[in-house]
Symmetry: C2
Subunit: 213 residues, 2 copies
DNA sequence: ATAACATTGTTATTTTATTAACAAGTAACG
DNA sequence: CGTTACTTGTTAATAAAATAACAATGTTAT
């Protein structure tokens, strides 16, 4: 099987995830086929882009019928998911952490939040939306035992660097950092950061531009 | 004043926001000058990129001394902020909405969350982290009265389209959508969407690739 | 049947973003 | 003072992403 042997462009991976999300909704609605321009419209992009992405993963639709929704979902799954799925831990079970756990819980079958970690004794050994919260001291132990490969960091910014370091030592493979603190991790660990303030400032900038202020 | 008359590239705007965040921290620590390679390291990018971004906003550092932290912060402010600031409303004061309000509150002087909206009577007229929650029915009225130009959508996905439509009617200028529901808004409204699941799936994909699974 | 049309798949082109290259110039040091 | 070393600013080159162009071909209408 040659499919997906080469690494896909960053942006394509993002869009595939988004396509799948909506394809699942289409499928639930009983829609069996979908055209590139329909997918495109949902995502505010061009049909060409959609076809190109789909080409890159080696799938073919049927002429004048479009893509088979179920087949496409399955193939995107083959690309994005691993067979046994990946296991995720959330470090910092505060407002954002709990909110993420609650949101995520039961969404994706192949990607599951299996543990929370917190330094506050009040939170330890509590269960949030079905996820057990462990003491931060047990990070390494639990990561190994539960076979966790991805960590989501939602501790206060001052703690983020320390948490990241311990995650790396514990053998984590990927980190999603929601704190505004920039992290330095070994290059073998895939790191992604998101800051909501940056998103909002970007919106503000373009609003300002549009208004000609 | 010619500065910033042309629209900056998307990515540059994002980075400027990030630079500022860390420059503020540097300033607080008493650091007065900073080199391009120092900024670069914080953000996992190259010094050239930093210099290029700074060039684009028309700022000049001093040779062998780097950039004046305070001046650079001020200039980025001139680019990203408006004089009187922009006012933001959060629609959906649930787990995520409250978490964002709490996080944002008192962070940025020029961008402030001034109102929450919710359809649940239990939440209406409560105050969350200093932000008054109004009934969703009052959306238009309050947006006009409070001069709100940006809306953050954190309602359940099924409600998102309706909320977006009403925001546009109410004259909002920019939307930050945290629901997984793709929205259609008038092209005059700047729309940005973020889905945490996509971020996580992207991390998972690259973890998978690295592992050679 | 045949023409007109719609839609895919793919290559070519354009645009945008990043990186490299290097001239210019200043601080620090002798 | 003169030299060395470093850092900026900018142009040029490269890479990545998006768009356009269009051939191929199945479908529908006549
Ligand atoms: N709340 C948001 O919407 C939001 C948005 C963007 C970014 N952030 C960032 O996310 C982070 C968390 O935000 P929050 O609002 O959830 O804060 P919070 O204070 O509610 O939660 C932080 C949690 O981390 C725990 N903690 C502290 N030190 C720890 C450690 N060393 N190990 C493990 N757990 C530890 C605390 O006990 C607490 O439960 C912050 O850095 C914030 O900047 C939050
Ligand atoms: N929680 C997260 O971390 C997270 C992460 C990513 C995305 N999201 C998305 O954000 C949205 C909200 O998530 P949540 O966890 O906060 O859910 P939630 O149920 O806690 O909050 C939703 C809130 O919206 C209110 N609401 C419902 N209909 C409304 C309407 N028409 N107008 C105004 N308010 C209305 C509800 O009363 C509730 O308070 C969901 O779409 C979810 O998919 C959440």
């Amino acid at each position: 099987m040659v499919i997906s042997s080469k690494t896909l462009p960053d942006k394509t991976v993002e869009r595939l995830s988004q396509y799948r999300r909506n394809l699942l909704i289409c499928l639930a609605k009983g829609k069996q086929h979908i055209f590139s321009h329909e997918i495109a419209q949902l995502h505010h992009i061009t049909p060409v882009q959609v076809r190109r992405d789909i080409m890159l993963i080696g799938y073919s639709g049927t002429l004048r019928k479009g893509y088979d929704v179920k087949e496409l979902i399955d193939l995107i799954g083959k690309i994005l998911d691993t067979d046994e799925g990946l296991r995720v831990g959330v470090i910092g079970v505060g407002n954002l952490g709990r909110s993420l756990i609650g949101y995520f819980n039961g969404k994706r079958s192949k990607l599951s939040i299996v543990a929370g970690f917190d330094a506050n004794p009040d939170k330890v050994d509590k269960v949030y939306a079905g996820v057990h919260c462990y003491h931060f001291d047990k990070l390494s132990e639990i990561i190994a035992r539960e076979n966790i490969s991805i960590g989501i960091i939602t501790v206060p910014a001052e703690q983020a660097a320390d948490v990241a370091e311990k995650l790396v030592i514990a053998g984590i493979k990927g980190i999603l950092n929601f704190t505004p603190k920039p992290l330095n991790v070994s290059p073998h660990v895939y790191l992604q950061e998101y800051d909501m303030v940056t998103s909002l400032e970007k919106v503000a900038y373009f609003v300002k531009k549009q208004a000609g202020i």
